[in-house]
């Protein structure tokens, strides 16, 4: 079987669509698994679905990583019934911020950073964007600022964890070296 690295750049349009669909499926399954895990606040999550975004970013590129994220948020909200609800805006803002931030970081600083660093940056941006939306539309700046420290700590921990998972997955896929 060809490795993802060999295929990257010469994958056919159909192949890209197939990969996008598969990664979207992975993202949705991870989202479903994660929603079973209880948390202190609804928007403070492990971010398992970000693993799929990272894999999309490395194997397919920035645009496809954003596509996987946006589609995951929309489809997940349609299934759960929170489409266009308050949680939807938070999830979309966090997901898009993380995907875009990781995409830019991957272009300018992938050698110093590894996938793990990208994931940590993504997790931090995800939580910061959510707090930004929270401050702008729901609670005002005071309560959001109070959540900043726990949000950053959570991001450090979850970004490290999901980054390591993404790294091992990418190794197995042959997209990055051991």
């Amino acid at each position: 079987m060809e490795t993802a690295r060999e295929r990257k750049g010469k994958a056919s349009a159909a192949g890209r669509v197939a990969r996008l669909g598969m990664l979207l499926g992975v993202a949705l399954v991870l989202y479903a698994v994660e929603s079973l895990i209880p948390g202190p606040l609804p928007f403070m999550r492990i971010g398992l679905a970000n693993i799929a975004t990272v894999i999309a970013l490395i194997t397919l590129g920035l645009v496809d990583a954003v596509a996987v994220t946006v589609l995951r948020v929309i489809v997940a909200s349609l299934v759960v019934g929170t489409f266009m609800g308050p949680g939807f805006g938070l999830a979309m803002a966090g997901g898009v911020a993380a995907a875009l931030g990781m995409g830019i970081a991957a272009r300018v600083a992938l050698p110093p950073f590894s996938v793990v660093g990208l994931s940590i940056i993504g997790a931090a941006l995800h939580n910061l964007a959510q707090l930004g939306v929270l401050a702008a539309f729901y609670t005002g700046p005071g309560p959001a600022a109070r959540l900043l420290a726990p949000a950053l700590l959570m991001a450090a921990a979850t970004g490290l964890g999901t980054g390591l998972v993404a790294r091992f997955a990418l190794e197995k896929l042959g997209a990055i070296g051991p």
């Binding site: 609804p42 950073f113 793990v116 660093g117 600022a145 900043l148 700590l153 450090a156 490290l160 051991p178």
Partner: protein, 136 residues
Amino acid sequence: MVQRVRAPRETGGRRALVTFADRLVLYVLVGVALVLLLTGSVRTPGSSVRIEGADGFELVLPLDRPAVETVPGPLGPTLVEISDGTVRVLESSCPRGHCVRMGSIRTPGQTVVCVPNRVVVTIEGDAPPSVDATTR
């Protein structure tokens, strides 16, 4: 953090699980969070107490200064005590005394209410009110 090195594979090359830059961003993140936690914890959870009574009686007091206030009501006086950053109804002229048995409150949004004697004690502040329930 313990640096783990992956076992060589194929090429015999060794590569750290997490690069220096990865660790740097991790430490910066945790550092910023810790600084925010330390500076943020200086603020008190609730800043003031609003005591409302019958006939437009209203009183706003700081939560950090101990005091005992007498609030006039239709059934008689209600004594509200502020101490150690908490508020409680010490004594009330109401028949059942539910307000006294509600005990102390300390976080913004919490209230003690005495319906018969028309007294409402509320803690005010800009901390996020505690969550009653969450839905997904």
